[in-house]
């Protein structure tokens, strides 16, 4: 009886591990979509009101990106706490933290870091075109990650169950 219980526990643990890994990928896709949406909202705010970036971030935070774990919320907190640090530095700091937390693909991180280097230093048209390019690149990355996710989701889950069964067989 105990052996059966132990075997079930091992299989359940391996399955949970597989599901967690799949969930992480899903979270990464969600984070990428959130970043794309943040870029789109920043571009919209600049296009419509020509407000400076700290004000844009503050307004977006109030309007819709107020969840504590969202990118805009983290950026807003950093802007609020900064002693007039350059916006590019705050952006870099926030992207690195967010990327670590959400396990973003390295391409996404470097894309956003390079976007941040010029943010706020260009004229209106260049800012908007760079933000649009950023959105387009993120969209490509999201498509790619979603395709990989679709391909590997079932396989990861099945492999984790098989791994559990294999460990049980080895232990028996």
């Amino acid at each position: 009886m105990l052996k059966l219980l132990g075997a079930l526990l091992v299989i359940a643990a391996c399955t949970a591990f597989g599901i967690k890994s799949v969930m992480k990928k899903r979270d990464t896709i969600k984070a990428l979509k959130e970043l794309r949406s943040a870029l789109s909202e920043i571009a919209r705010a600049i296009n419509f009101q020509l407000d400076p970036l700290p004000e844009v971030i503050s307004r977006l935070h109030k309007e819709q990106f107020s969840e504590a774990d969202s990118f805009i919320s983290q950026l807003h907190t950093n802007v609020q706490n900064s002693e007039n640090e350059p916006f590019s530095q705050l952006w870099e700091h926030t992207i690195k933290l967010f990327s670590k937390e959400k396990e973003l693909p390295i391409q996404a991180e470097s894309l956003l870091l390079s976007l941040g280097e010029s943010l706020g230093k260009m004229d209106y048209e260049t800012e908007l075109s760079r933000l649009k390019e950023g959105q387009a690149s993120l969209s490509e990355l999201i498509d790619e990650t979603e395709q990989n996710y679709g391909k590997t989701e079932k396989m990861t889950k099945s492999l984790s169950i098989i791994l559990g069964i294999f460990i049980v067989i080895l232990l028996l």
């Binding site: 400076p52 350059p86 916006f87 260009m122």
Partner: protein
């Protein structure tokens, strides 16, 4: 003045926030940053230099500002968002939070014969806006008539208090009249995120950053002001807008750069014809004040 000092320091880069924190702001009118030269502080009665331990009278012991530091200062003052100030930069200056004016010197960018911006910033002139509630009280009393207020033009060279007087006149008259300020440079009301940073009175509307001529006409159509105030009149479009305002019975108080009334009589004859009085301003013992009030009728 402490509020002014705090507000300005908050908008500066870390180095200059630290250095200027020990500097007295009472009477300070301008802070000049010139590349590879000493940072200069212009008080109403003296000129001194910024040093690592406060202020100094000697340029050789002053703090010299380098290129990257100057870039940091300009980026901080422009809120790290050049695109938001580009329209103003084209004219050589931008207005920051608190209504303070940032004048820029640098290399001009020209596209299709038009100035589109400025690059290689080599100098910054931070002009400190100040509020002296009550400074225009005596003038306000002289501008009142039985039917309202005289159409008034304040004339002076730069830095003689035109904007400060306009702001105070708005505050005083807004206890009695509906006022609209067309604040093309955000200097009169110092509006930030829609909230005026200066006391402009209870019945005052602000058209912030509107081009003067279109702002004046818009005010007439939508805000029905009894008195309209605006700063630094100049071109023919302004004269045309004022003609329409006068025709609609709205009173106008405005300012204009000029050395003397006689000079303006030659160069801006049409514009002067809309006003009842010209208030010539200047500096007496270093303090901006009214020099003379002359009838134009």
């Amino acid at each position: 003045m402490d509020n002014t000092k705090d507000m300005i320091l908050r908008q500066l880069s870390d180095t200059y926030r630290r250095l200027l924190s020990s500097v007295p702001f009472q009477g300070l009118e301008e802070i000049r940053f010139r590349i590879e030269r000493p940072v200069t502080l212009y008080y109403h009665d003296r000129t001194v230099y910024l040093s690592d331990c406060g202020i100094t009278l000697y340029p050789h012991s002053a703090k010299f500002i380098g290129k990257s530091e100057l870039e940091d200062v300009s980026s901080c003052l422009l809120n790290h968002s050049v695109y938001a100030y580009l329209n103003e930069i084209k004219d050589g200056f931008a207005t920051i939070r608190g209504g303070h004016r940032v004048g820029l010197a640098g290399k001009c960018i020209i596209k299709n014969g038009q100035i589109t911006g400025m690059t290689a910033i080599s100098g910054i002139n931070l002009r400190i806006a100040r509020e002296y509630p009550g400074c225009a009280k005596a003038l306000a009393d002289r501008l009142k008539t039985q039917n309202g207020v005289k159409n008034t033009l304040l004339i002076s060279p730069p830095q003689c208090g035109k904007t400060t007087y306009l702001r105070d006149l708005a505050r005083i008259f807004s206890h009695t009249y509906k006022i609209t300020i067309v604040d093309e440079r955000s200097e009169i009301a110092g509006t930030y995120e829609g909230v005026p940073q200066f006391d402009i009175g209870p019945q005052t509307d602000v058209l912030d950053r509107f081009p003067k001529s279109s702002g004046m006409l818009l005010a007439l159509r939508s805000l029905s002001p009894q008195i309209l105030l605006t700063d630094e009149l100049g071109d023919e479009k302004d004269a045309e807008a004022i003609r329409k305002l006068c025709g609609a019975g709205c009173r106008i108080i405005a300012s204009m750069h000029g050395d003397s009334l006689s000079e303006l009589r030659r160069t801006k004859k049409e514009l002067l014809s809309f006003f009842d009085v010209a208030v010539c301003m200047g500096r007496q013992n270093g303090i901006p004040s009214v020099i003379s009030i002359e009838s134009l009728r």
